[in-house]
């Protein structure tokens, strides 16, 4: 694997990774954005507006048809919230030219398609195409309303709103409905033009072999934009809460969801990665071994952390009426981490698991691109060997110290109202 990074235009970093075992190419284009109530729905709309049509493919379905004919090439847009900022990214993937049935250059066609979508969108007179905008906004409004459908995602969203109240991180990825209803096609076009000029841009290409054409095309495209990048920080720790926010809500569902949010400070990403893994994700993990297997309180109980916000969240689904017992059991696992009352081999097993995870990331184009962009968002160059070295060096004392700096800041309970009498066959 060969990795090379260069700045190809003002505030535009391009990282190329070549690995001959890959059969496909992947180009992800990341735009770092500040966000607020009004811009959040615009950012969400851009993921759809810029990937469904373009000036080159204005007719409904034409872009999809072209992607079909390019051997199931793909070009979705997504938003990843990190800290108080957003990473708006577009991920183009396509079959390497070596496998094209008629010897055509899929790479050349895809670069034209991608750059056409981003730089020559389906727009006129300073606004995105009205019909396309109408459909995309309706999709967005439906998506906002559909938050209630996925109970687990709904609970996580409410817990996030409560834990980060008053901070941009509390705004849901799609924004809120009133702001989304107020957005116009002209707003979206204007903000996209601003993004192109001001957002720090991180381009990551993962390829089976060097493709000079890719660097040439990207450099030409971004050099043609009058760039004046503004800095965007993905790190935005929440102010320490003095009291625990406890919110209980009800929904017509058969299971209850429980989410505990802990704040922390002065713990590195390496220490928190291991601490989190000691809680969930392996057979020895405390939440799995004790809350699920020992006490039988839930099927799923997982921990995750955000270094950008310096919080650790634990979530699980439990039988209505057992929320208190589950909360007590989860808190007991945190206490176990703080006192060192866990199997002695647990940290070592978690280190071994993280070594596997780092290796597995190198076995797919998507895994490589994801790992590179995560490193860049954290402000460090992608270096798996250095990362593993830091993980191996973490001591039990560091883990206990970090666990002792966890402070419960919010508890969210979404209580089911029925036990569910399902018995049909």
């Amino acid at each position: 694997m060969r990795l090379e990074t260069a700045e190809i235009a003002n505030g535009v970093r391009c990282t190329e990774v070549c690995d001959s075992k890959l059969r496909g190419c992947l180009l992800s284009l990341h735009f770092a954005l500040r966000r607020d109530e009004n811009t959040a729905p615009v950012h969400a709309l851009l993921t759809d507006l810029l990937t469904g049509s373009s000036a080159d493919y204005p007719a409904p379905g034409a872009l999809s048809a072209q992607l079909d004919s390019l051997y199931a090439a793909d070009f979705p847009g997504s938003l990843h919230l990190c800290g108080d900022a957003a990473d708006l990214y577009f991920s183009a993937s396509w079959l390497d030219d070596a496998y094209a049935m008629n010897g055509e250059s899929v790479t050349e066609e895809m670069l034209s398609l991608v750059l056409g979508c981003l730089l020559r969108p389906h727009a006129a007179n300073g606004a995105f195409d009205a019909e396309r905008f109408r459909i995309c906004r309706q999709n967005l409004l439906d998506d906002i309303d559909a938050a209630v459908n996925d109970k687990r995602a709904f609970a996580l969203r409410r817990a996030t709103e409560i834990a980060f109240a008053g901070e941009p991180a509390a705004i849901p990825p799609q924004g809120n409905r009133p702001a989304a209803e107020a957005v116009t096609a002209a707003d979206c076009f204007r903000i996209w033009q601003e993004v192109l000029c001001t957002a720090p841009v991180d381009l990551i290409a993962v390829l089976p072999a060097e493709k000079p054409l890719l660097r040439e095309r990207l450099t030409a495209a971004f050099s043609g934009i009058p760039r004046a990048p503004q800095s965007v920080s993905f790190s935005a720790p929440s102010p320490l809460r003095q009291t625990v926010q406890t919110v209980t809500e009800e929904m017509d569902m058969t299971q209850s969801r429980l989410i505990l949010t802990y704040q922390y400070d002065r713990a590195g990403r390496d220490v928190m990665t291991l601490l989190c893994r000691m809680l969930s994700g392996t057979g020895d993990s405390l939440l799995f071994a004790n809350v699920r297997e020992q006490l039988g309180l839930c099927y799923d109980c997982t921990a995750s952390f955000s270094a950008a916000k310096q919080v650790l969240m634990i979530e699980c689904g439990v039988r209505p009426g057992t929320e208190q017992a589950a909360e007590a059991a989860i808190r007991a696992q945190i206490t176990a981490l703080q006192t060192g009352d866990y199997p002695p081999g647990l940290p070592g097993a978690c280190k071994l698991y993280e070594e596997f995870s780092a290796a597995a990331a190198l076995d797919s184009a998507g895994g490589i691109a994801k790992a590179v962009s995560a490193s860049h968002r954290a402000g460090i160059p992608y270096d798996p060997a250095a990362w593993l070295g830091r993980l191996r060096a973490v001591t039990d004392e560091q883990l206990r110290a970090a666990a002792n700096r966890l402070r419960l800041s919010a508890v969210y309970r979404l209580c089911g109202t029925e036990e569910g009498g399902q018995d049909a066959e």
């Binding site: 075992k21 059969r23 496909g24 409904p60 379905g61 034409a62 999809s64 048809a65 992607l67 079909d68 004919s69 051997y71 199931a72 090439a73 396509w94 496998y99 049935m101 019909e131 999709n139 439906d142 559909a146 209630v148 459908n149 996925d150 109970k151 687990r152 929904m251 017509d252 058969t254 299971q255 392996t282 057979g283 020895d284 071994a289 699920r292 297997e293 039988g296 309180l297 839930c298 099927y299 799923d300 689904g317 439990v318 039988r319 081999g345 097993a349 071994l352 698991y353 070594e355 596997f356 290796a359 597995a360 076995d363 797919s364 089911g416 569910g420 399902q422 018995d423 049909a424 066959e425």
Partner: protein
């Protein structure tokens, strides 16, 4: 030993029938950092009635899934913990026609493979451990079957399409059916279905065939043959109900439209499934005029999708999504099918969709885990090769697609399932 080669990518794997009867399929991929192993069993949620060694057995819904959960137990601790200590990432799933246990590892692959083969062959079921497992599985049923509209709409459609086929029951069973599962029943199923001749082991990645076969020799038991006969499913060709509805907390109606048609087996199933997927994409995929028209009219939104759901004893082509007017979506789909039946399939669009399927097939197996999964699927289905898709695709014709449209998308074999908001 048989060496199989992908005609397009040049990928190779070897298949061996082990002396125990176990089918072994291995792809050496030295350029990768990890290796994956999957052990698949031809025992899933639809296998509810069988005769083993002359004894007839009926199973409560969810038995295969329950067995999968409990197989990780042993007298000296659970296998999940042992995998963790080897730095391996393990899991398992139960589907309608199979149960698959798998792991991926970087450093101690050989030890993890020995563990996989060992725990799957050594059941250890106790009444106490089953009692502990019931509430855990009950929560899984709540989370994925009862509170998830996405899962619920799928099973609601199957309940509407099928009269009595066990495919209409949730893989995990019901809160009631899991109460009837006993250690004796699980032992009985293990004896009947977990004989090595009913298992396939597929390994891919940074490994050698020699080490895999050596571990298989060391750990796979040679057992006397077992005569297990699964009762054939007697399912009418008609749909059970043309429309089924229920209510949940959802933002707008969730729907699924399914077309039921007679099942096929073996290579024919693969060919018909591929064709079915192509026809669905042609009729209502993202690049189709029908899909774009429904989007423009606000009948559907971007949750709309089409898929083929097929197995050895069922064949369903379906569309699902959200809509304020599910009946109008069903009508639009049936009208488009009628038009395609009248006017035929456009060769150029069909060729573009075939190119997309070709690209998908090549890209989708480009990692040890994905390659091992593709090999497992092919071996469990008793296909001649895991590379059958890339070999088959060029031979599929528009005329065959037209025939499938006429035979498998019949207007009298359609069911509409809807979950309305409370």
């Amino acid at each position: 030993m048989n060496i199989l080669t992908d005609p397009v990518t040049g990928d190779r794997c070897m298949t061996v029938t082990h002396k125990s009867g176990l089918t072994v399929c291995i792809a050496e991929q030295p350029d990768f950092h990890t290796a994956s192993a999957l052990l698949g069993v031809r025992f899933g949620s639809v296998h509810r009635q069988f005769t083993a060694d002359g004894r007839s057995v009926s199973l409560p819904a969810g038995t295969a899934h329950f067995l999968e959960h409990k197989l990780y137990d042993s007298a000296d601790g659970d296998a999940v913990t042992k995998f963790t200590r080897l730095g391996a990432s393990d899991n398992a799933y139960t589907a309608f026609d199979r149960t698959v246990y798998y792991f991926s590892a970087q450093q101690r692959f050989a030890e993890a493979l020995a563990l996989l083969l060992d725990f799957v062959q050594r059941p250890y079921f106790t009444a106490e451990s089953l009692e502990k497992e019931r509430p855990i599985i009950a929560q899984e049923i709540h989370e994925y079957s009862l509170d998830s509209p996405e899962d619920r709409i799928f099973f609601l459609l199957l309940e509407g399409l099928f009269h009595r086929h066990p495919v209409r029951c949730d893989v995990a069973g019901t809160l009631r059916s899991i109460q009837d599962i006993t250690p004796e029943l699980l032992y009985q199923c293990h004896r009947a279905f977990y004989h090595p001749s009913n298992l396939v082991l597929c390994c891919a990645g940074n490994l050698t065939a020699e080490e895999v076969l050596e571990i298989a020799d060391r750990t796979v038991q040679i057992l006397p043959p077992v005569q297990t006969v699964t009762e054939p499913v007697r399912e009418p060709e008609t749909v059970f109900r043309q429309e089924v509805r229920e209510r949940m907390t959802v933002s707008k109606p969730q729907f699924a439209v399914g077309f039921k048609s007679p099942p096929v087996t073996g290579e024919a199933l693969l060919r018909q499934t591929l064709l079915g997927e192509l026809v669905l994409d042609y009729i209502a995929g993202p690049s189709s005029p029908c899909c774009q028209r429904m989007l423009s009219e606000g009948l559907i939104n971007d949750t709309f999708s089409v898929s083929a759901f097929t197995g050895e004893s069922w064949f369903v082509l379906m569309a699902e999504g959200e809509s304020d007017a599910p009946e109008a979506v069903r009508d639009a789909l049936t009208a488009e099918i009628a038009r395609v039946r009248r006017e035929g399939i456009d060769g150029e669009r069909f060729a573009a969709l075939k190119r997309a399927a070709y690209g998908d097939a090549i890209l989708s197996a480009n990692s040890p885990a994905a390659a091992a999964e593709a090999m497992t699927d092919a071996m469990l289905r008793r296909l001649s090769s895991p590379y059958a898709v890339t070999a088959l695709l060029p031979a599929l014709t528009a005329a065959e697609a037209e025939a499938l449209t006429a035979e498998r998308l019949r207007p009298d074999r359609v069911c509409l399932a809807v979950i309305d908001p409370c």
